[in-house]
Structures are given as structure tokens and as C-alpha cells.
């Protein structure tokens, strides 16, 4: 019995958390050497709720003297007598899932088939996204809009991931996912209206360009705050779970966003709460001028999923079919299990961070050019599409031509349209316009009337 006491003492330390008294334990255990009975104090605990499967609280007691493992809080752990640390750097990095090779040839038979119409729509939207990005970027350079952000190099990430989702799935974007909205049916005119902040903007001119949002398309309005959408996606997924809907949420963020507190809390929480959310990391190598080597030292983002108890995969972000398959699978897993999934798509930010950036200042132009040419996601998918007989050079010329015309037209219309009225300064602060804002609006209108020469003519009243 004396041999067992040291073991008991350690266990008592744990038990003490459960409001037991040492003497109770000793008397009930020591009095009956031969059988392991449940001590009296166990009945005095408050009831614990198990919303997920948890270990039997008293498993620790039934080790039977075996010292190869122990049921610590958190579960059974095997012991080792080796003083060895886990390596900081893995011997081999996690492999990257790919379906098409650099020249668009199929190299996998483990992927989700895309039907013809979807494949062609995917390609067309990728081209439209590219065209839209190029022309809007130029428009900013010409001073016609104040700001723009392109998705150069991430067309496959945008379109292929969107294609794998259903319209019921809720999208929580960062800011480089306009393609997802494009796929869902947001028109070029609507994009242009938001960038120009005109009266037709369904954002009522409240936000700077590229901060799109559309309830109709289940795409939550872009906010400038980095990585806050990750927590929001988890909360909304909780709501979906409570509703019992056949849908999930997906949230996008970059390599930089994974350094934030929100990323950590959201992933940890999602795993504990068990909610259907897809965490999609666009690891494009850069957070403005910060390369990933200055952002983290882990093997990218995919290994972090394991740390939180979340199934994860690394995919080639320039491979539309790989992204499509991964998201399809992730969606099925998330909804069926009601648990989070992490996808890390490796890519390269071929454009500058935004129109406020000139990335040639911190990275070699040759590097940018190489990625644009050799690993272009649009080119690669086109090559596969052509190989399947679904696309031709003529179709390409026609598409590029019409896309360009459409974008230019949308910009021209948006530029000429009226700006939102003065009343929109005050609406939507609260659900109902409060009296102080009503008074302020009245006072503003009176001032404008009295001093009309001091106010710009193009602000409608």
C-alpha cells in the first residue's frame, strides 16, 4: 500500500480540483485494498455537461499500476524515456496537392470532376477578373478612382474556390477575393459603382474602393481590418449549426493575417465549438513588403491546423482543379462533421499589394515576371481546357475583347452617375434614425441652402 501512496498523492493533486477532501479519499480507498471503488466524494461534484464526447472522468483511476501511459487532463499520453525535443523545422515540408502540371496536363486521378459548363464558366470568370483588375488598376492610375487592389496571380484561388461552393455558403472575405463575388453574379456595373461610390452603389458610397459586399450573394462586406473576418466566420458558422442548415461558411485571409490574434482565437475556438467553417489561407508569399520568412518560421500555415486539431491541406493555388477539388472536399467534411477545415493555397502575389504600393522596391522584377509567366493560373487552366476541347484561340480573342469592352463601359457609366444624396451621411448609423442625427441633417441642409456657393455642385441633396 505504501508503494501506491506516492501515485495517489499525484492523483490527489488533480482530484483536489474537484472539491474533494484528502481524508475522504484516503479512508475510502485505503479501507478497501482489493477493489477499486468509486470514492464517496465523486457524488458531490456538480453535473458536467458533455456537448462533445469527453473522456470518462475516472479513467485515470484504472491504470492498474501500468506506468507506460497516464490519463492526464486532456487524455492518455504515452511516456518516453528519451530527452528529445520536436524539431523546429521538419525534415520535409508538407506536400502540396496538385492536379495539373505547369503546362496544364493532368497528373492526378485523385480529384473532383468538373462538368463542362462549370469549367468554361470558371475560365471565363478568371479572364474577366484579370481584365477587370487591369482596367480598374489603370483607372486608379489615371486618378478616376482613389484606390484599387488586384488579385493578380490568384485568379484560380478566387474562381475555383467559389465554383466549389454553393450559393448558400456564407463568404467572409479579406479583400483580394472579388473573384468569388464575380462568380456569384455581382455585375461589372456593381463593381464599378462601388469603386466610384455613386448613387447606385449598394454600399451607398460609404467605403473606399474594393470594399464590396452583397447580402444577396451571401458575401459579407469587406472591412479594412485584417483577419477580423476569421472570427466572424466562426460565429456565423455557429449560427448555421444552430439552424441545422446544409451550408458552411468560408473565410479567406493571407499569410500576413495568420499572425494576428484573431486567427489564433478563431481557429482554436472553431475546433472547440465544432462549427462548419472552411479557413482558406491565400499564402501568396507577401504581406505588403513583408516576405513570409519575416512573418512566421513554421512550415507555412498548413501545419498550424494540426496544432489546433483541425484537418488541413496544402494545395497549389495556381492550379484551378486542385483548388476546386480541395474546397469541394473541405465543404463536404465541414458540413458532414460540423467541424472546421483548413486549406493553405500556395501562390504568388504577382501584382503590387495595392495601388499604394510599388513592389519592385522590395523584390526583383525578374521574380515577379517569372511567376507571372511560368506559373500563371489562367494560362495553365486554359491549356487544360483547350486540351479537353472546350476552348479555342478564337474564343479566347473574342472573350478578351468583349470583357475589355464590358469593363470600360461599366466604368464610363459609373463615372457619370450621380453621387449618393446628403441624407446617406446619416442613415444606417442605427437601425432607426436618431433624433440628434435628424436635427443635424436639418441643420446641414439649411447651411447648404444659405451658403450654396461653398458646397460642390455634384453632391445631390
Amino acid at each position: 500500500m505504501a508503494l501506491y501512496l506516492p501515485i495517489l498523492r499525484r492523483k490527489i493533486g488533480y482530484l483536489a480540483m474537484m472539491n474533494s477532501t484528502l481524508s475522504n479519499f484516503k479512508t475510502s480507498f485505503l479501507s478497501d485494498k482489493n477493489s477499486i471503488t468509486t470514492p464517496d466524494f465523486c457524488n458531490s461534484f456538480s453535473r458536467r455537461f458533455h456537448s462533445s464526447k469527453a473522456d470518462n472522468l475516472f479513467d485515470f483511476m484504472h491504470n492498474g499500476g501500468d506506468s507506460k501511459e497516464l490519463n492526464f487532463p486532456g487524455g492518455i499520453v504515452k511516456f518516453t524515456s528519451q530527452l528529445k525535443f520536436l524539431a523546429d523545422v521538419p525534415e520535409e515540408r508538407v506536400h502540396c496537392y496538385r492536379v495539373l502540371d505547369d503546362s496544364g496536363q493532368l497528373i492526378s486521378n485523385d480529384f473532383v470532376q468538373v462538368n463542362k459548363e462549370t469549367a468554361v464558366k470558371m475560365y471565363k470568370d478568371m479572364v474577366m477578373l484579370q481584365t477587370m483588375d487591369t482596367i480598374f488598376y489603370e483607372a486608379q492610375r489615371q486618378g478616376r478612382i482613389s484606390f484599387y487592389l488586384t488579385a493578380n496571380g490568384e485568379e484560380a484561388i478566387n474562381i475555383a474556390s467559389a465554383a466549389a461552393l454553393s450559393m448558400d455558403d456564407l463568404v467572409f472575405p479579406q479583400y483580394r477575393e472579388a473573384g468569388v463575388l464575380l462568380w456569384r453574379g455581382f455585375t461589372l456595373q456593381e463593381f464599378a459603382n462601388q469603386c466610384f461610390g455613386n448613387k447606385e452603389d449598394n454600399g451607398k458610397g460609404r467605403q473606399m474602393p474594393i470594399h464590396y459586399g452583397s447580402n444577396k450573394h451571401n458575401y459579407f462586406t469587406v472591412a479594412s481590418t485584417v483577419a477580423t473576418q476569421i472570427s466572424h466566420a466562426v460565429g456565423a458558422a455557429y449560427s448555421l449549426k444552430m439552424e441545422g442548415r446544409d451550408a458552411c461558411t468560408i473565410t479567406y485571409f493571407g499569410d500576413g493575417g495568420t499572425s494576428t490574434g484573431d486567427f489564433h482565437a478563431a481557429l482554436n475556438f472553431a475546433a472547440v465549438m465544432e462549427v462548419p467553417v472552411i479557413f482558406f489561407c491565400r499564402n501568396n508569399g507577401w504581406a505588403i513588403s513583408t516576405p513570409v520568412s519575416d512573418q512566421f518560421r513554421s512550415d507555412g500555415i498548413v501545419v498550424r491546423g494540426k496544432a489546433y486539431g483541425i484537418p488541413s491541406i496544402r494545395v497549389d493555388g495556381n492550379d484551378a482543379l486542385a483548388v476546386f477539388s480541395a474546397v469541394c472536399m473541405a465543404r463536404t467534411m465541414a458540413i458532414r462533421e460540423g467541424k472546421p477545415v483548413l486549406i493553405e493555397a500556395l501562390a504568388y502575389r504577382a501584382g503590387h499589394h495595392s495601388t499604394s504600393d510599388d513592389s519592385s522596391k522590395y523584390r526583383p522584377i525578374e521574380e515577379i515576371e517569372w511567376w507571372k509567366e511560368a506559373q500563371n493560373p489562367v494560362t495553365r487552366f486554359r491549356e487544360w481546357l483547350q486540351g479537353e476541347g472546350l476552348w479555342t484561340t478564337q474564343a479566347e480573342t473574342e472573350l478578351r475583347d468583349s470583357a475589355r469592352k464590358e469593363v470600360l463601359h461599366a466604368i464610363q457609366v459609373a463615372e457619370k452617375a450621380e453621387k449618393p444624396t446628403v441624407k446617406e451621411i446619416f442613415t444606417d448609423v442605427y437601425d432607426v434614425l436618431p433624433s440628434n442625427l435628424r436635427d443635424q441633417e436639418k441643420s446641414l441642409r439649411e447651411t447648404i441652402e444659405r451658403h450654396s456657393q461653398d458646397y460642390p455642385i455634384d453632391v445631390p441633396l
Partner: protein, 371 residues
């Protein structure tokens, strides 16, 4: 002296048998005709219970709200009644659960997020302001955020600098938020129910020392449909010589001060703000136009405080009616010290209010001459 007794009794959580309660009962009897009493804690608990029962979309989230029955027992019994999906115990991450709560509110649910104290809300303040308060505006009405952030605010007793700050002024500055500050059990019930039902994000600032205090409640207050309007202040005590505006725990202190002043021939009108944002400027100004003198009382830091805003409002709208400069009473401009004697000096006491009122009435010499 009274202030000291009240604080000691409040710390022990034993509201029975003290002078202060006697005074309060006298003061409040003029306004309600009932025998039933309820603590602020029970008022909050019953309000949460009723709203959760009425609407399955309402759920609670926070540290220790479930199994532990709430760090201050405000959520006692709710886990048993509604289950772990509606009373969610969280890991230690205010930023995390505030963000998750906001996300849930973005898509249909009505979360009530508890901060163990509002000092910890600073970890989550980006989500409160940028994700909750501004969302309806930034999304042009597409994203509404019917969320409530609640918890104890301001000084407790002997908890030091990082547990004692008052956040009324900071949150009160933000458009898009509503900020409520209940005092009595009736306030607690009515305002919390209103907050949960409101489609806008609400910051609900309670006070730890008030949790154990009992207040009379009428049958109307106990009814499950009871609700107080947001943005209306309550005149706790009518008067004609000076207006005292205050909120939360300081309402009790102001009422005590008013009683002392009445014995000296000064009739003070005590306004319980109930709502910092929207601020009930019309009630405040109407009162000042009647009394011609104003003293603002708050526990928080002096610079950019609630009193500063009230003073500006009165100067803008009722300048001609003021017979004396506005007096502001606030906490000291120092992080809250711990030692009991220092803490007492760092927060307003009843005598401070009495002295300030007398100064406003030109019954005593200026501030420089008093301690």
C-alpha cells in the same frame, strides 16, 4: 462617514441593516408603491432568462458563464435551463469570443457577450467598434448587429488599476453603439431587455458593487414584457435649486447627498442618466432650465468624461439659464490605487457631491479652498 459605511456593507454583500438603505427606501418610496424587492443580480438574471425563453436566437457567451454559473453569478441557473449550446463557456480570448459573437450576430443570432469586467473589453475593442458599431453603416444597412456586450464596469473595491476603469466615456463617443448604464433593479431589468431586443449593438455597463443591492420593484417591472425606452433618463428625485446628473453607482451617492443637502435647505434634482448614448439631452436641459445650476457626477477619469459632454450640451443649449459655472465631479486623474485609503480618495464620495453642490449654489468658497 455614510460613504464609508455604505462601501463596507456593499463589499460584504450584505445590504441588510444599514443607514444608507433606510435613506434609499425613504427616497424611493415616493416613486413606487410596492412591497417586493429584488437585487440587481436577480433583476439581470431574470431579464436574461425571460429573453432567452422568449427568443431562441438569444444566446450567452463568455468566460465562466456556464458551469461556474457566472463570475458574479449573473447567469446562474441558465446553463441548466437552456443547455450548453445557448450558454457557451469560452476559452480565454475576449478578442476571440467578441469576434465570434459579432459573426453570429451578422448571421441571425442575438448574442449576449459577457466581459468579466469591462477592463477586459479592451482586448476586444476592435471588434466592438470596427466590427459591431460600424458595420451597419459601412455595409449600408446590409449587416445589422443585434449584439449586447455586458459586464461590470468602473471601480469595485480593492481591485486596483487594471480592474477599476470606467468605460462609459470611451464607448459613449462612438456612433453606431448604444451605451446603457443601469442603476436600480428596475433599470437593470428594463434596460437589459430593451438592449437584447434592440437591433443595434449595445454596450451594457453594470456595476459589481450594485449586484447585491436590493431595490423595490413593482408588478409592472416584474412582468416579462417590461421594457424601458433607450435614451430616456429618469428623474430619481425632483428638486428646484440644482441639477445633479449621474449614472450607475453614483446615483445612490447623489441621492444620499441630496438628502443631506435637503437638511441644509438646498433642493437638488437627481437625474439618473440610464443611457450614455443616446444621451437624454432634452431631460438634462429641461432640468437645468428649471434649476439654473448643474453638477455632473461620474466615477470615471475627468478628461473627456461623460460630464464634459453634458457640460458642453448645456452650454450649447441652455447657456442663458445658467446662474453658475457647471461643476464636474469625477474620479481622480490617476490609475486606481489599491490601498483602501488611497482608493477612497480616488473615487467621488458623498461629501464631494455635497461640497460641489454648495459651491454651485455659492454657499461655500471656491474649489481651491476646499480639500
Amino acid at each position: 462617514m455614510l460613504g464609508v459605511i455604505r462601501r463596507r456593507v456593499a463589499c460584504k454583500g450584505n445590504p441588510a441593516l444599514n443607514l444608507e438603505q433606510g435613506i434609499r427606501v425613504i427616497a424611493s418610496r415616493a416613486f413606487s408603491s410596492t412591497a417586493k424587492e429584488m437585487t440587481v443580480r436577480d433583476a439581470l438574471n431574470s431579464a436574461l432568462d425571460e429573453e432567452m425563453s422568449a427568443d431562441p436566437k438569444v444566446f450567452l457567451m463568455g468566460e465562466e458563464v456556464g458551469e461556474y454559473q457566472g463570475a458574479y453569478k449573473i447567469t446562474k441557473g441558465l446553463l441548466d435551463k437552456y443547455g450548453p449550446e445557448r450558454v457557451v463557456d469560452t476559452p480565454i480570448t475576449e478578442a476571440g469570443f467578441a469576434g465570434i459573437g459579432v459573426g453570429a450576430a451578422y448571421y441571425g443570432l442575438r448574442p449576449v457577450i459577457e466581459f468579466m469586467t469591462f477592463n477586459f473589453s479592451m482586448q476586444a475593442i476592435d471588434h466592438i467598434i470596427n466590427s459591431a458599431a460600424k458595420s451597419n453603416y459601412m455595409s449600408a444597412g446590409q449587416i445589422s448587429v443585434p449584439i449586447v456586450f455586458r459586464g461590470p464596469n468602473g471601480a469595485a473595491a480593492g481591485v486596483g488599476a487594471q480592474h477599476s476603469q470606467c468605460y462609459a466615456a470611451w464607448f459613449g463617443a462612438c456612433p453606431g453603439l448604444k451605451v446603457l448604464v443601469p442603476y436600480s433593479a428596475e433599470d437593470a431589468r428594463g434596460l437589459l431587455k430593451a438592449a437584447i431586443r434592440d437591433p443595434d449593438p449595445v454596450v451594457f455597463l453594470e456595476n459589481e458593487l450594485l449586484y447585491g443591492e436590493s431595490f423595490p420593484v413593482s408588478a409592472e417591472v416584474l412582468d416579462s414584457s417590461f421594457c424601458l425606452p433607450i435614451g430616456k433618463a429618469k428623474i430619481e428625485r425632483e428638486g428646484k435649486d440644482v441639477t445633479i446628473t449621474t449614472f450607475s453607482k453614483m446615483v445612490g451617492y447623489a441621492l444620499q447627498a441630496a438628502e443631506i443637502l435637503a437638511n441644509e435647505g438646498i433642493s437638488a434634482e437627481v437625474i439618473n442618466l440610464r443611457s450614455i448614448r443616446p444621451l437624454d439631452r432634452s431631460t438634462i436641459n429641461a432640468s437645468v432650465r428649471k434649476t439654473n445650476r448643474l453638477v455632473t457626477v461620474e466615477e470615471g477619469f475627468p478628461q473627456h468624461g461623460v460630464g464634459a459632454e453634458i457640460c458642453a450640451s448645456v452650454v450649447e443649449e441652455s447657456f442663458g439659464y445658467l446662474d453658475a459655472p457647471v461643476e464636474r465631479i469625477s474620479g481622480a486623474d490617476v490609475p486606481m490605487p489599491y490601498a483602501a485609503n488611497l482608493e477612497r480618495l480616488a473615487v467621488p464620495q458623498v461629501d464631494d457631491i455635497v461640497r460641489a453642490v454648495k459651491r454651485a449654489c455659492y454657499r461655500s468658497s471656491s474649489l481651491a479652498a476646499t480639500a
